[in-house]
Symmetry: D3
Subunit: 305 residues, 6 copies
């Protein structure tokens, strides 16, 4: 195989290189690396660590070192995030068509805006935690939520990614959202608007679409989909930029597996949506909705396992 | 931005620090770190590595070094786990109301109990593996189960976490369970009681509640929920501490997407629950249950994608 | 506890060792480590990094270093993969019953075949990316797909694992597939045959069985199952090696939560399968299929949450 | 050996533990770690990196990131150094006899004093570099000095350690000095007083004692000793705290291997001390001193090597 | 250069490979790695860490964890050292000519012997430390010796290497000795016999030959050589295995730069050898020896530097 | 101190930044990092590892993987060294005054030349090893030299650095030489010309100047200096570029501490220079040279230590 490696492998590498460089349409030397996934993951990990030191940080942090730690992390977050935002902005500029552009300044200000919003984000997360504490009988403490409920990682990530989405940062919010999706099974598009006091129990398989608006103190279980009817409108065009996903008002509970579809569908406040319900039109406030399933029972006489 | 970092960022850090310290209600210097998630993940990884050396360990382990390796790992597991259990016990003491408490001794004994139970846990895991080997036609060997079936990681983690739950260790069992949930999509509450020979195929989206009892040789597929009706009883109080989830008797098979709810629901032995079934009352032994779905077929003449 | 560690722990270690060595049926010193999961994960990470440098690689890669990087990665992939394939082949030989065997040469050639196929695999992945770009209105660029859509990692992994499956490499393809499953919630058996232009949106909970054939430009959403009726045939024998999973023809769209079962079930081209549909028999081309759900709405007057 | 490890080794460990704890005279749990050598090495490395970024830092530092980098390093130096100084002060308190002591505040102020002095230390180091550039005909650039002359590491370390010595920080200055000694073979006691423009060529074996005063623009070669006559005075008492080492005035050159001894010995300015000279009394200014060696030449007729 | 790398470099690699394999005279696949230097360095670091935890260990070690730490380190030292000793013994066997050999058992017992001797070695090191404390007026505490005097690392390493030398372990003692030489500039051959209470101040350039015997409470300074006259005897044969280096009796002090040569040279007890003395014959007890140097002083009128 | 860090430290950082940027005279963003010491150390480590795999490499290398390993290392050496050479060339260009320059091509060709010369360098190193084996009676095997004699690292480094010096690569050869000096105490200027079969025993304190020529099979001991009279000529100008250091002909032995000075001094072949000899004029072939020392012995009656 030694011979094959020396004689054949370089030509395969050349082929791959051409395909890669070809499909990336890159002209500059550094242009290729829009922003590696791992770089964004590292910044996101740092942001989560500064929101929940001790629980999410790599090392434990004593109260005495807390101020140093937070300052240190914020400085690094600021530096790294600015760099990555600038890179994606530059990349989109270079391939797009921008008359006058000031990627560096835009990156600086997006990064500072995010950092400024972190204290407020943490306040809202505290309310999300309180909802979990109230909503799950198995939960025994505030710390149990932070340390072992996946929705907290997903929702904390979302609140950060949503801020960047509002600041028109490309791609990075989606990479963050998918990081949380990968770890928790909860897929929230950074565009979704979600009020305080949000609680998702279990969470695997939850999908929340880009144009959703979710009110305060909403609770949902695993497998809930807040989706669009179809990616295409009646003329077969992509629904890009339009409102495609439902709104959920305050205090709604949605049980596991429920599917709620459509940009004009509104679930009125205080309503309860039963498990596996299939909903494609609006539901008034204070309504209980459930699907009726026909279940058949039959004696399985011959079962010999 | 340099100026902003030096002038504005420290005040944001101060705000964050106040919020964090405020919400954690910590009085001592070390109190903050109940136990970081990563610390618990590391101990869990070590326990899994000692149950399946070679497959789950960081490095390969030859037969010759096996005894040294196991001794070494057990010693470190013992030391680290004891430390973490003591920390969570102390934290709960400090904030709770304990007259006489002996956190260190309790931690020592919980840790030793867990280690003593590992040989037995491994015996039971061997039965879980046999069920997988029997249950999946695509599976070709014992090793394929250990190396590539997610349920093995989820169930091994559960059997460890359940032991700690029985020993009244707070929070840590839940952190372990959620680690497995994150990696496998299988969410088993550490309180659930699960007999030997348990097999879950695929597994994503499975939820098994705290007060479930599951018999021997039970098989289930992805997306199965063994849940509660609601977190509240009829008076609107949380169902804390009560039996809220179903029991599944020996040899039951539950196909994908089935939902079984309620603390008084019992699925009798040898029964088979069909895919997507919705079950809210008990099923006698030897019964085949399936949902009836009405499906509509219509020629999609205009499809122009 | 120091005394307990020194006096009791070694005996527990001995017990564990016996159980482990006993159940692994290993005779040689090195035999135990068929191939650790982490070793395979590392090779897979390298392969993904060479398919999408910059995005999936640990470090960013400039255009100038691209050729060096690809050559370097391919050489290491070749060396490491060959070693791991040889180990699993040898292990299966040693425990099985092989008359004449040439594990080393077989490993060499499997490894070279995989590497030779990488340029073609990348071409097909480009078509998978184009389908995503077309299929999701929320998606804004080619790079967004690579960097933040989980299906790309799952499908890239599948195309690599499928190649190794075709080359009769044991266990390793399954370890790769489960790596992707763990990270994306998408579970594709390496045996499945999947045409170019494949797109899965969201993806959590998707299961695609070993004997599926999927045509070109198929799109599916999260929670779709392409499964078997039962692991046993009517005589109670395992269905090993038989066609057990459905075929999906070109241009089919399958919405979230749909379940399609059985080895003789074929979904004809251009058909659309609605969300949560339950399908156990073939569907002609150009058909729109959907489930009818009975939903009940009731005013929830007393809701006091 | 497995048996021996389990049965005999713990007793040997107990013996070692008793000896260690016994000889360290520690009463508290944390008291043992006055300050590990490696911790001090890390702080020293950071200080050198901030004095010569790019050359001594772990990573290259671009001009653009320079300000961030220096701030970041200084913050960490401040935090870590303060901690280590406080630890050694506390340790010395606990074993010594201090009425009123304020270790934390003393540590804070020592650490801040050092950091404040860094810009001035760097100015002086620039003069040390200029002397090297002037003094070695083989040297081709300013950068060659920083990157490849060992005296620069030794002298930079000395100037930092000397500052801490002046601030009465125990042990840490000596650990720093020995770090440089280990890497360069140049042994300068932190107590020595050394003027700007100091250059040591080659350096191995140079020893400069605690109570030396060295003027400006002094140059020396490898193997030079500036030592004491004896550690004991005429009554056999240790010379603790007295002036025991020579003074060297401005512009002196000392060639390799010269030995200059005694606390009252002064080498007057502009003097030149020849190689291997042995000097035990003062030398007036503008003097050339050399040893006379008697060398014998003999034909080595029988050499058969 | 890409072309050159792919076309020319492999042939250069082939050349190098032939030269390496050729000169190593290796026949087996694993034979090449007698024992890498880094492997031995790691074991040596571990031994030093267990002799001086806190000071030499990578991390700080509290009193509470001391027993666990020492046990843990001893176990790993035992395992790793045994492996390396076995490898060098096997290598020497394979290339030498051994009738009956039991490398594994010999390695086991050498390793155990060393570990058994560690408590005694530590006792002796305490006496070496006391001598330093007594001998250097600049030294202020017991801890300063451990943390910042290079002779302690050199002498601790020597006492370990000497034990292995006595147990006839090949090569490894020399690798250890050179590790200390590299870090301290003190070169002690593992064969040398050195009594307790040994102190070397500064140390750079000290050389102590294989067949030296050094008594109790000997003190020496930097640059001292205890050497042989010549590597060849009068017939031109190598002096292999013969006594070639001097003996130093109890309480002797040897000042810097002194050279003492020859296997029959004995420095009698309580004697003091002056700096730079050149000694080639025995010195009676209680003698003061010094060299007479002729020094010339001349006014350096024209010095214009 | 928190306040001080936030309020005062940034200004100190600004001062340091100005001094650093000021003294480096850098105009471009990347210009600062001529080439960090650590980068060069890493390449040097790789080169030594490829010359002595197993002994100097980080990991052991079996015969089977040898070819892969060497190819892999050479590729990385080529890439990294080229980059670093280009950086130093560019830096020297930018600050110097070059009409037409082709730094990249020059770097490519220097790097390739070095790699091409490695097989020959290894041949010569084998002769250096043979001389050591012959010259030291304590040495027991070929491997002992490679693994534990510091001169081998120093001489191997020199032969590499000398090649780069001949190719006019700035600074990097000196960084390499000082790396070896730091680890071995042997300081060989990269300009020195050294024949095969060179052996240095012990080595600490050896200094070999830039314009030395050393013949074949020369042996020397620790503390030998081959130096210049003075850095200045009689007119007070630096001796830059002139022959300033002695020549040593074939088969010469130089014992420890000898000093040989001057660019016109030649030690004729087969001569033997005694320990501590001071030589400032040429010595004919076949001559034995030694210094005569006057030693005084006096009974030290009052020694009471």
């Amino acid at each position: 195989m030694k011979e094959w490696i020396n004689s054949e492998l370089p030509a395969i590498a050349d082929q791959l290189e051409q395909k890669i460089v070809g499909t990336y349409h890159i002209e500059t030397d550094e242009g290729l690396n829009v922003a590696g996934r791992n770089d964004i993951y590292r910044v996101l990990d740092d942001i989560l660590a500064v929101l929940f030191p001790g629980a999410y940080s790599r090392e434990s942090v004593g109260n005495k070192d807390m101020n140093f730690y937070i300052n240190d992390m914020l400085r690094h977050i600021c530096k790294d995030l600015t760099l990555h935002i600038k890179d994606v902005l530059t990349y989109h500029c270079a391939t797009g068509n921008c008359e006058v552009c000031n990627c560096e300044e835009t990156a600086n200000s997006a990064s500072m805006e995010l950092i400024k919003s972190l204290p407020q984000i943490r306040d809202i997360l505290m309310k999300d935690i309180e909802s979990g504490l109230k909503g799950d009988p198995a939960c025994q403490s505030f710390h149990e939520i932070i340390l072992s409920y996946p929705y907290i990682e997903a929702v904390a990530t979302h609140r950060v990614a949503h801020k960047l989405y509002q600041l028109n940062v490309p791609v990075i919010p989606r990479i963050m959202a998918e990081r949380a999706h990968s770890k928790t099974g909860i897929d929230i598009h950074p565009g979704a608007n979600i009020g305080a006091g949000f609680f998702i129990d279990h969470g695997t398989g939850v999908v929340i679409g880009e144009t959703c608006n979710i009110g305060k103190n909403v609770t949902m279980y695993h497998g809930v989909t807040l989706g669009a009817f179809s990616p295409y409108d009646r003329e077969g065009n992509k629904f890009k930029g339009k409102k495609r996903h439902p709104d959920i008002e305050d205090n709604v509970i949605i049980y596991s597996g429920a599917v709620i579809l459509g940009g004009e569908t509104v679930i009125g406040k205080n309503s309860v949506i039963g498990g596996n319900a299939w909903i494609t039109r609006s539901v008034p406030a204070n309504t209980l909705v459930y699907s009726k399933f026909e279940t058949i029972y039959k004696e399985d006489s011959g079962s010999e396992r």
